[in-house]
Symmetry: C2
Subunit: 200 residues, 2 copies
């Protein structure tokens, strides 16, 4: 019996790795958010995916560990939100299923848009201790993206488990990007979207 089809490959576009070279240090929240917004912009411009960017940094040094961009439609994989990619590549780099490790630096996730239900769950599992959000859930939903079952209690829950959430960093800029994406006719994909049948 063969195990045909039993491998799944997730490629980070080379330009993402180049824009967020692991080990490069960023100064503050504004700079880190500017990076993930730039990743989202570039992702749209290149036609590589949805208007979302994310990155994991080491707290303290400000060094990038890994970055991600949305690849859902292009990779035919609903899991590949920017945050999921950044978290998975960060764990691959660190070599552990958790980014919390005694005696090692803590980590933070920056995302150009508030995490959906899936990404918020993964944020908790990932071991990051800080979550920094650009655009808000309502900014994403205003242009037609679903965000799933996330409630005020969800944030209380992750706070009780050691994840601090910070909002409003470059929100206006991040929200403008989402509106621009919609206005330029970018695909709004949701589970009930008809998959594109051409050009992919």
């Amino acid at each position: 019996m063969t195990a045909e089809g039993a491998r799944l490959v997730i490629d980070l576009p080379a330009w993402v790795a180049e824009a967020a070279v692991p080990g490069r240090a960023f100064r503050d929240d504004q700079d880190k958010m500017a990076l993930v917004i730039r990743l989202a912009e570039e992702n749209i411009a290149r036609g590589d995916g949805g208007p979302f960017g994310a990155a994991v940094f080491e707290i303290g040094s400000g060094k990038v560990v890994a970055a991600g961009v949305n690849r859902v439609v292009e990779a035919a994989n609903c899991v590949l939100h920017a945050e999921m990619i950044a978290l998975m590549f960060a764990q691959q780099r660190v070599g552990s299923f958790t980014l919390r490790s005694p005696g090692r630096p803590e980590h933070e996730l920056f995302t150009s848009c508030e995490p959906c239900a899936m990404c918020l769950g993964a944020t908790l599992w990932s071991g990051v201790t800080r979550l920094v959000i650009g655009a808000e859930r309502e900014d994403a939903m205003a242009v037609g993206f679903e965000e799933g079952p996330v409630f005020a209690e969800s944030y209380a829950y992750i706070a009780a488990h050691g994840v601090q959430t910070v909002r409003g960093i470059r929100r206006a800029e991040a929200a403008r990007l989402l509106r621009g994406y919609r206005d330029s006719g970018g695909p709004i994909y949701n589970p009930d979207s008809t998959p594109p049948t051409t050009g992919l």
Copy 2:
């Protein structure tokens, strides 16, 4: 500039693909749940990961599309819950970011244990229209696994978006498996767990 480390490979163990050969038909909910519990058991027995199994089926024909087992510790990747693997491989097989497609069969996700917050979000994004659960959240938490921010409203939310949830299929059997895993000293990994440093 190279894009070193910009590929992530997820391998489904060959024995999973063999136990759940895509296209093989299962008769009813009992049989489908028996399969995913067997996957969880085998995963423990082989030391491949945590005590969780899942599979996506075509509704109507009962054919397996893809299966998954937990690989978090072994793959150093907190995303690789059984459900996430089954959903990603199912989408790879179908070739779309959503398993809902006009004129095509609908799909259902069977899981040996209630989905965590991340997996519940992915269930919604995946396009399955039915979620069938063995062990409950409290069965998992009773042995020490975190489940994340999932509330009664979470299920109301996914129901409103077309995902029906069915509970209690072989629950006692699925919960017994979790207790047996804990009693035999299986690792209970959570974000604040110290990663194993040997044998992996």
